[in-house]
Symmetry: C2
Subunit: 158 residues, 2 copies
C-alpha cells in the first residue's frame, strides 16, 4: 500500500490495478456546527439560524457547486497554459436550482466561464472549456447524472 500523506488520495495496489481513495471526516461541534477534515485542510459547516444553526460556517449542499467550479477551473487553468492561450484572469460562476420537496436536489445547473483580458485566443479558450466539460472534469460528469447542466462562456475587458 502506497500512501501520500500530502494528498487526499491513498493509492492501494491490488492485483496490479491502482485504486484511488478519497477520504474525509466530519465531526459534530454542537447544534448544527460541524468541522470537516481532509488531509489538505478543514472546512467549517453550519446551518442558517432559521434552520437551527448559528450561521458560523458554509452550507454543505452548496459545497457541491464549489467542487464543480473548482474541478473544471483547474482543468481550464492547466489547458490554457499548455495551449499557450493565457488570459488576464478568469472566474467560474455556478448557479443551481434546488428542488422544493425532500430530498432536495440540484436539477438545473448553469456554469458560466468568465474570461478577462484582451486579444483572446477564443478558439483555444473554447477548446479548453469543452475538453474540461466533455472529457476531463469528473464532477461535471457526476452532475450530469442528476441535473441538466448548461455552460456559457463570457469575455470581458481586463
Amino acid at each position: 500500500m502506497l500512501t501520500n500523506g500530502k494528498n487526499s488520495c491513498k493509492f492501494v495496489i491490488q492485483n496490479n490495478d491502482k485504486i484511488m481513495i478519497n477520504k474525509i471526516e466530519v465531526s459534530w461541534k454542537g447544534q448544527m456546527l460541524f468541522e470537516s477534515v481532509a488531509p489538505e485542510g478543514t472546512v467549517i459547516i453550519d446551518a442558517a439560524e432559521e434552520a437551527g444553526g448559528q450561521g458560523k460556517g458554509l452550507r454543505p449542499k452548496a459545497l457541491m457547486l464549489t467542487s464543480l467550479a473548482g474541478c473544471t477551473a483547474m482543468d481550464v487553468a492547466s489547458l490554457l497554459k499548455k495551449m499557450r492561450a493565457e488570459v488576464g484572469n478568469f472566474k467560474i460562476e455556478v448557479e443551481a436550482n434546488l428542488t422544493e420537496e425532500h430530498p432536495k436536489v440540484y436539477d438545473k445547473v448553469k456554469v458560466i466561464y468568465k474570461f478577462y483580458g484582451e486579444d483572446f485566443k477564443k478558439d483555444k479558450i473554447e477548446k479548453a472549456v469543452n475538453l474540461s466539460v466533455e472529457s476531463y472534469c469528473g464532477v461535471m460528469e457526476m452532475f450530469r447524472k442528476f441535473a441538466e447542466v448548461t455552460t456559457e462562456i463570457q469575455y470581458f475587458d481586463k
Copy 2:
C-alpha cells in the same frame, strides 16, 4: 423577488411556485490556486504539487464528500434532538473510490456514522440515520445517481 442576504438561497416567486437557487463563484489566483466565494464564506482550493499546484488549499473533488457528510450530519443532529435520542458525540466518515480514467468519478462511496456515548437509544438513532439516507439528504440522493452508496453505523464508548 425575495432575497435573504444571509443565506446562499435566493427565493424567486414565479407563478406562485417557490424556486430556490444556490450560487457560488470561483476566482483564479494564479497557477492552480482558486478562491470559492459563497454568501456564507470562502474556501481556498489548490492542486497537489505533483499536479501543478502548491498544496495551499483543499482538493475540489473531495469537497463533494464533505458536502455529503455535512448534509446527512445536519439531518442526524436535528433528528436526534427531535427524537430525544441524544448522543455524547458523533462523526461521519466518508470514503470514496475514484475511477482511474478521465473523467474520474466516484463510483463507490461508503458513509460510516460513528456515535460516541453510552445508553444509546439505538432504535431511534438508526431511524434518524435511515430517514436522512432514504428521505431527507439531497446530497445522498444525488450521489446515488452515479455511485454505489453504502452506509454503516458504529457505536463507541464516550
